[in-house]
Each structure stands twice: as C-alpha cells, then as structure tokens.
Subunit: 257 residues, 2 copies
C-alpha cells in the first residue's frame, strides 16, 4: 500500500504567521501522499471575546451554542483553513480545504446530552474514505477544518484530534497511514519539566507500566488511548512530536502496538 | 456539449435562513450539471460593525484592508459557504465549497492602485476550468465563495459577479453554459418601479436602443455589458432574474447576442 502522512496541527503554530509559514514549509517537504487537519481554538476564543461571546469549556472541550457555532465556522472553515490552503498553494502543494460537509466527507451526529450539554458538537459517525482517497491519489492534499455536518443541514463543531483520528482510521484500509500529532512538547515526556526526556517508542505494555509508575498522567492518558485505538484500527504508526521537529528524523514519540 | 447552469446569488437571499432554504430547494431541482457562486456582503458588514471595523465602499465595491480581509474570509469562505454546502448536502446535492485558493481554482492579482486603493482586492487572472470541469463531471457541485488568491499565499477579496462571469467564460469551452444572476428584481425592468415591466429578451441592439432612450441606466449598464462580454466569450445564455423565480419557466430577462 502507498504511504499517507496525516498530520494534525493546532495551537499557536497555525495562528501566528511566522510559525505557520515555517510549519507549512516543513509540511511541503514531506514526501508521498499527505493530508492535514488543523485546529484554531485560540483564534475562535479571541474572536468570541471581541464579539462579547463567552467561551465555555468542559474537560478541554468547547461548549458550542448557536453564536459560538457561527464563530468557530468562520474561524476554522474560513480564516484558518483558507490561510493554510493559500500558504500551501504558494508552496506548490495542491491543497483543498474541507469541512465534513464538503462532498459529505465526514458526517457526525449531535452529541447526546448527558451530564453536560455540549450544544452544537458533533461525534463523527461516517468518513467518506473512498472519496478522500480518490482526491489524494490525484495529487490533492486535503486540509480538514474541525467542522462536520449531520447531513440534515446542520454544521457541528468537532474536535480536531478526533477528526484526525477518525480520518486516519477510515483511510487505513486504503493507505499505509502514519498519523502525526503536532504538540507543544517534543513528544511524550518521562518528566514533564524536561524536554529531553522524550520517550522514543511507546507500546501498550510500556504505556501501562508508565501509567502505574505515575510517569504518564493527566490529559496525556486519553490522547495515548486514542493513539492505540487508531493503531488497532489499522493505522501503521502514530507519532507525537513538536511542530518544529517535523522535518527532522527520529524525533518525537512513536507509538506502536 | 453537456449543459451547465451556473448561478450567482447574493444579498438577503443567502443571509436569511428561510430565503436561503427556499433558494437551495429551487437550486436542487435544476436538472443537469450545476455550480453556484455566492456573495455575503451584508453579513460581512454586520460582523465588521460588531468588531468596530468600518466598511468603506467605492462604486459599490468594498475597500479591503487587512482587518476587512479577515472578516470577508471568515464570512464568505466560512459562514456563508459552509451553510450553503451543508444545506445542499441535506438535499442530496454533492456540494463542495471552494475559494480560488482551493485546488488553485481561481488565481487573481491584487488590483493596481489608480485613483483608488482597493486594498486586498483581486482581479481574476486564471481559472482552472479543467479541474472544475473534472469535479463537475463526477457529480460534484462547486460552491464558489468570492475569495481568490494570488498563488503567493495571499488571499484576495473578489466581487462575486466577477467570479461568476469569469467561471462561466472559462467553462464555456467545456459545457453549454447558462449563467443566471439572481437579483432583487424580477429581471431587467423597462420601468424600475414596475416589477411587471420585465424585458423578456435583450440583444445588444435592443440594449443600445434602451440606453439611448434612457430606459436602462445606472448600475444596470455595467451589469449588462458584463453579460454581453460573457456571451461573446462563448457563454450560451445569460439570465437576470429574481432568486424566488428560479424554479419557474420563462421568467426574468434572457440576454443573447
């Protein structure tokens, strides 16, 4: 199978001109088929503030009322997505910006209300992998914004990590997929205060051991559980690294089964 | 050649839920290949106001500084485009939202400063008609937002009528193109206060006569000159009509050579 590198990038990297430009340069130098998933939460929060709309979060996830849905649609699918697409086109990468609604490439359902009502937040139900693969094989580089739709005319806000994971899993039967999460740290750290303590390789067994020893804790646990889930669904490799390490060999944490 | 209907819609129609939903219903019932170009100027002006950014216009065209470029990118490529795409997907129309940057489908150059500096406004230089045609023939319905790029990483604001005209001209060698401008009036009126005075057919000769007689004047003159230019470039028919007349036969003004 042919190789596909699917990169998730978010945070400051995509929202500051200089770091975005550097990142896109590194991305353009990756060989083989590529796809990109981006966030944009900081810009959404800033725009919401300017508009007097309060950002409410729960467990790091944005609660999305009707006003906030408009804001994230504008920021993710408009501003951030098109700046990335135009930036890649300037580097001769044939980028195409997509939300889940475009060509129905990712359908979701509004998250059921349990303890918390997340509002217009979608859980991914279906990825149109054949269509995405067809585009990719013609040389197009999909740039996915974290907005999906329910196929009933409603746009839904969907976590970018989830979009990346679901896209990688769906494409795993068609490509040899490497999923790279760009992150603020150089990788999964054994000591969170030491950037040089990156764990180079992580297996489920080692992960379990580090969790028991308290070396891996907090928000990194669900992130890694998702990575293992992607691997079980056929994704070849999951890498967690820092965006500016992307061009380098053998950096970050590689997660395998 | 196969038929392609390219519709330009703007104004209130695309910015109010009820009228948009009705328009998309009518659009979905058009047979044959279709493409859509939309505006969104009112929503951009409203967002700009909320953000304390002043909208400056010259001859009906928006002067676009860096802040305004962000606003129109968010509103046109984000909010309006994705609401239309999601609305069409719900009607089983396989819509794909595009700016000129996406797949480099429309390249422009920043407008040279003459009497007036329009800022980040692009004049269309190149339309990737082959790529658009390829998409259209696979059943995809392009939904073009009035944002282009210069292929040097810069997004540019571009008039939606111009986008529609340029796309129609570029596609005219590949399809039998009908270009429909949806407008606030039922068509080109002989008496601007009488909605029943629609001119059913307009040729260059008749146009000239009406201009001399003062029956056609003001902003309608450049609109019609653009229509004749499109026809000369190979577009089969140009129709000017009201959005809610779209489903009906024999309405509006048909412009031919």
């Amino acid at each position: 199978m042919e190789k596909l590198t699917l990169i998730k990038v978010g945070g400051k990297v995509v929202e500051e001109e200089k770091s975005l430009s550097e990142f896109l340069g590194d991305f353009s130098r990756i060989s083989g088929y590529r796809a990109l998933v981006h966030g944009g939460g900081r810009s959404a929060t800033i725009l919401a503030e300017k508009l007097g709309v309060k950002s409410r979060m729960h467990n790091g996830r944005r609660i999305t009322d009707a006003e906030m849905l408009k804001i994230v649609t504008m920021v993710y699918a408009g501003l951030v997505n098109k700046q990335i697409v135009a930036g890649l086109q300037a580097l001769a990468v044939n980028a195409l910006g997509l939300t889940g609604a475009d060509m129905n490439c990712m359908r979701s359902e509004i998250r059921p209300v349990k303890e918390i009502d997340y509002g217009f937040v979608g859980d991914v139900k279906e990825v149109n992998a054949d269509m995405l693969a067809q585009l990719i094989k013609t040389g197009i580089v999909p740039v996915l914004a974290p907005i999906t739709h329910d196929k009933k005319a409603k746009l839904l806000n969907t976590n970018a990590d989830t979009i990346a994971g679901e896209a990688a899993k769906a494409l795993a039967s068609l490509f040899d997929v490497t999923l790279i999460f760009c992150f603020e740290k150089k990788g999964v750290l054994l000591d969170e205060y030491d950037e040089d303590s990156v764990i180079p390789q992580l297996t489920p067994k080692l992960f379990e051991q580090y969790v028991i020893e308290g070396k891996i804790s907090g928000g990194m646990i669900p992130k890694l559980e998702n990575a293992f889930e992607a691997l079980k669904a056929g994704v070849r490799r999951v890498v967690i690294t820092r965006a500016d390490e992307l061009g380098k060999q053998e950096t970050g944490t590689t997660i395998t089964l």
